[in-house]
């Protein structure tokens, strides 16, 4: 095993995780080890990004088999690269795909895996702080002297440019994917519905406090009036009021809007895991002791069914 840290990101016809590369490279740089960035289907400006954030090396891996979202091929490609480089740590961004890819790669490397990482430190061994119990606790895991595969939560690390740009050693690398036939056949692909919650600057989220599926319309109208998107807590997704692609939280989407308005949402840790990084949180809840008010900058205590129509009016008054 070398002292190197490999940050790995990928893109395919379904998802683009390269946007997390600056955060991963910054996290790796903080551990005072040489940083190598493995970019699978790399973006055009990868070399410039590597230089800005201080990766010493950039390995570009392009392969037609990796353009389709195909976990078997991706796992094989990353595992081959990691087996050859034998890094100390392999960092991946915690995306939907990473939840499957990270443990599988770890198993092939005989490595330890930790998901939900929010900090990585080195002092006589690597220690990873991850959230547990939905965010109610933090757990610190020691990796011993094995390779670690770590999935870093979005937004956990703030990307910062390297103090001084240094030359990046760039190489085009290949993987032998002849043995990685995809075993899962896609019969009906998901149809992405345009705008992504992850990109929204304003999000209005509704919870069970709305009282009925029909009242979700209030959330949509307020989101519209603020030029944002509507989202939801898990119970109202489970109850079929809203499509699951709208769910925010530990098992939904992780978002970082500048404004997050939570309406009839209790603020359980598993919900906050998806939105606590919002710049400003505004909450409307009839219970003054609701957990959401511990995260909110502004709060209104009251019945959201009465208050939201007035918020819509006030928002339109601009």
């Amino acid at each position: 095993m070398t002292g190197e840290i490999v940050a790995c990101t990928w893109s395919n016809d379904r998802a683009n995780a390269h946007t997390a590369a600056p955060e991963l490279i910054t996290a790796a740089r903080a551990l005072a080890a040489p940083v190598r960035w493995l970019a699978v289907n790399p973006p055009h400006d990868a070399a410039a990004t590597a230089e800005t954030y201080g990766a010493a090396a950039l390995d570009r891996l392009s392969d037609a088999a990796l353009l389709r979202a195909s976990p078997d091929a991706l796992v094989e490609a990353i595992a081959q690269h990691a087996a050859a480089r034998a890094p100390r740590l392999l960092l991946v961004p915690q995306t939907f795909d990473a939840r499957l890819v990270a443990p599988r790669v770890a198993h092939r490397l005989g490595a330890g895996v930790v998901m939900n990482a929010i900090a990585i430190a080195e002092d006589g061994g690597v220690r990873v702080t991850a959230s547990a119990y939905g965010g109610d606790t933090r757990a610190v895991y020691a990796l011993g002297d094995r390779t670690g595969v770590i999935a870093v939560m979005p937004g956990a690390v703030e990307a910062t440019a390297a103090p001084s740009p240094s030359p990046v050693h760039t190489a085009d690398v290949t993987a032998d994917l002849s043995g990685a036939g995809e075993r899962v056949r896609v019969l009906e692909p998901a149809r992405s519905e345009g705008a992504r919650l992850e990109d929204a600057d304003v999000i209005v989220a509704g919870g069970r406090g709305l009282g009925s599926a029909a009242n979700f319309r209030l959330v949509e109208e307020l989101a519209g009036a603020l030029g944002g998107m509507a989202a939801a807590s898990r119970p109202i997704v489970d109850d079929g009021w809203v499509d699951s692609s709208r769910q925010i939280g530990l098992t939904g989407k992780v978002v970082r809007p500048s404004l997050y308005v939570a309406v009839g949402v209790s603020g359980a840790s598993q919900h906050m895991a998806g939105c606590s990084a919002a710049r400003t949180i505004v909450a409307v809840n009839r219970d003054r002791d609701a957990a959401i008010f511990r995260h909110a900058r502004f709060g209104i205590v009251g019945d959201c069914v009465e208050i939201v129509p007035e918020l819509i009016r006030a928002a339109r008054e601009a």
Binding site: F96, R99, L100, P103, R104, H107, V113, V114, M115, A130, Y133, G134, D136, T137, R138, A139, V140, Y141, A142, L143, G144, R146, R183, V184, R185, L187, E188, A190, R191, E193, V202, L226, D238, S244, S245, L250, T251, S269, Q270, S276, V282, R288, D289, F293, R294, R297, F298, G299, I300, V301, G302, D303, E306, I307, E310, L311, R313, A314, A315, A318
Partner: protein
């Protein structure tokens, strides 16, 4: 006939953990690594209940199946009996080694499944609500060399060639996706599957007499195969958030105007 193994884990009731956290009374024990939870009930991880439900729905759909529920854990007989009351035909408890991690858990479950033989479908929850890792099913899949399909809301099994295949509807960030996989395979189940059923009185009576088949860890995997790779060193409760400015006003309209005045003054909305 197909054989389904459902992996279930006992966890502290997450709603109770949340309530303790909100009340500022969630505390870590003297070992620094576990919750003080004498008052917190232990339950089947909710996603694992949904995994049992998924197995029962496959049976309800007319596929003849034998269902085994298995857990790696101490004192999990009551949870396993509940799985039997729901419809598991066979229950098994694997005694964990003193120092364990999710790699060891997966190694034990994979070894059990291999030893059990003829397992067509391994079902599990998408993640456990204590560690939130969601890695055990993928590790089992790799150890067995079978495909893993994550985050199912529906699973249908049908004959396929000489064996069977599962058609799985997955919940993805872009909406539902339908995939097909030839069995054997591992499938993880999510809450979108819907409400699990309750045990019937008759089945509960019958299950009371069932005892889990108890298997020691070293009967499945030699000790060096269980050495923890990830060691929980300590756990702590993070600081609660900042102070909230409560908006004052006598009517909904006054509250709304006052809020937007503040938001506009701070440049948060235009």
């Amino acid at each position: 006939m197909i054989r389904i193994v459902v992996c279930i884990k006992e966890v502290p009731d997450p709603d109770a953990v949340n309530s303790y956290a909100v009340a500022g009374r969630l505390t870590i024990g003297d070992d620094g690594r576990s919750l003080v939870q004498s008052a917190i009930a232990r339950l089947t991880n909710a996603y694992d209940e949904q995994a049992i439900e998924a197995a029962l729905r496959i049976r309800d759909a007319g596929v003849e199946c034998a269902i085994t529920a298995v857990s790696v854990g101490d004192d999990c007989a009551a949870m396993l009996k509940r799985a039997a009351a729901l419809g598991a035909d066979e229950i098994a408890a694997i005694t964990p080694p003193p120092e364990s991690d999710w790699h060891a858990t997966a190694a034990l479950l994979a070894a059990y499944i291999r030893q059990r033989g003829d397992v067509d479908l391994v079902l599990s929850g998408r993640q456990a609500s204590d560690d939130d890792q969601g890695v055990v099913p993928a590790l089992i899949g790799e150890a067995l060399g079978v495909p893993v399909v994550t985050i199912a809301r529906a699973i249908a099994v049908a004959a396929h060639g000489a064996g069977h295949a599962a058609r799985v509807t997955r919940v993805t960030p872009d909406g539902d996706e339908t995939v097909e996989v030839t069995l054997p395979a591992v499938v993880t189940v999510s809450s979108e599957l819907g409400q699990p059923r309750y045990p019937t009185a008759a089945r509960s009576m019958a299950a009371r007499k069932m005892q889990p088949h108890v298997i020691a860890h070293d009967a499945l995997v030699p000790p060096d195969g269980l050495a923890p790779r990830v060691r929980l060193e300590r756990m702590y409760v993070p600081e609660a958030g900042g102070a909230c400015e409560f908006i004052a006003g006598d009517t909904p309209a006054a509250l709304a105007s006052a809020l937007f005045e503040r938001l506009r003054a701070e440049g948060i909305v235009r």
